[in-house]
Subunit: 203 residues, 2 copies
């Protein structure tokens, strides 16, 4: 059975839990207490992921695959969650890289600081203003796209939607207000209505 | 002819220029002065990329594909620069997401601040220490992998190497010292020795 090295509060972990649920793939889950540094131990770095992060998918042969969006791409291959065409796949990746570079660091990180009660250093306090601005800009990019599209690529639900849903639907926990983003809110409802959908905290 | 919306100082743009050169694909290049905000004009946001960034690949039918790593994946499809297997492709993506999340923001951003003479605000000054620490950690992850691998995936040159080469080979411009990373330095030489290699500033 495949094994997911995970943390239940993580939106990145949730991306993987969600697609595994929707594909009906059974898996074993190993929970790490990230507040206690359990993904930074010498053993974890040596055996699971030298980058000290979860999620990591461990295949039956022991192969370790880190990075939530690489895992999504792997699991979705050959399923309706990932289109086959070369350009369509590149567009899926375009939104996944947008998520990891322009969205996640600005929207997920404040949520992490707040929900994990991380010390609000002067550095974090100053960067929070920038993250607010860039996070709202990322939401604006999504709003513009979703104003005329039901989903991110080819107007059908794919791993691009899963990737962007993970931290957008809990953006409020990081202090973001989605009131001004009606197309994003309607899309969140469409994603949550997909067959087999599970909530973030479903282990 | 395809068209690359680009900035010549950008390592992300360089990734695309490099693979286009190595694949022998002719292209037209449109240069934007990012210091003067030319990628944030209403026209650019409307017509090229709502996220206000280059590179963007414009296909012959007018389709716009943003995100350097999505462009690499698109261009490399069906070539020796991207393996065919589902797991091998996921491993390529694993390193590309590592690059965009754990490497680029910490190694490329200080280079940008220095080489583009961006104002060193208190926020940037404080975050520079964190970026140094995380950037060296990313280089450490690369060093560990390259200590027993010639390239990042399947021991052959791929777009994973192109993605990580772009900002690693100019890490010194951002104040990083590669002295303590001999495997990384040897890999940089192997990448630079690939057929058709071009330097960052080759238009």
């Amino acid at each position: 059975m495949i094994r997911l090295h995970d943390n239940l509060s993580s939106g990145n972990g949730y991306k993987v839990r969600l697609i595994l649920a929707q594909l009906g793939i059974p898996f074993e889950r190993v929970e790490y207490d990230i507040d206690r540094g359990e993904t930074r131990t010498p053993e974890f770095l040596e055996r699971v992921n030298p980058n000290g992060r979860v999620p990591v998918l461990e295949l039956e042969d022991g192969t370790m695959l880190p990075e939530s969006d690489a895992i999504l791409f792997y699991l979705a291959g050959g399923t309706p969650f990932l289109p086959d065409g070369r350009l369509e796949r590149a567009q899926v990746l375009r939104w996944k890289f947008f998520e990891q570079y322009s969205h996640e660091p600005n929207i997920a990180t404040p949520r992490f600081w707040i929900t994990h009660r991380v010390e609000m250093t002067e550095e974090r306090r100053l960067s929070l203003g920038t993250k607010r601005k860039l996070g709202y800009a990322a939401l604006g990019v999504m709003e513009g796209h979703l104003a005329s599209n039901d989903f991110f690529v080819e107007n059908r639900y794919s791993i691009a939607d899963i990737a962007l849903y993970a931290y957008t639907h809990v953006a409020g926990e990081g202090g973001f207000d989605l009131e001004g983003f009606p197309a994003v809110r309607a899309w969140l409802d469409r994603v949550a209505a997909q067959p087999g959908h599970v909530p973030l905290t479903r282990a």
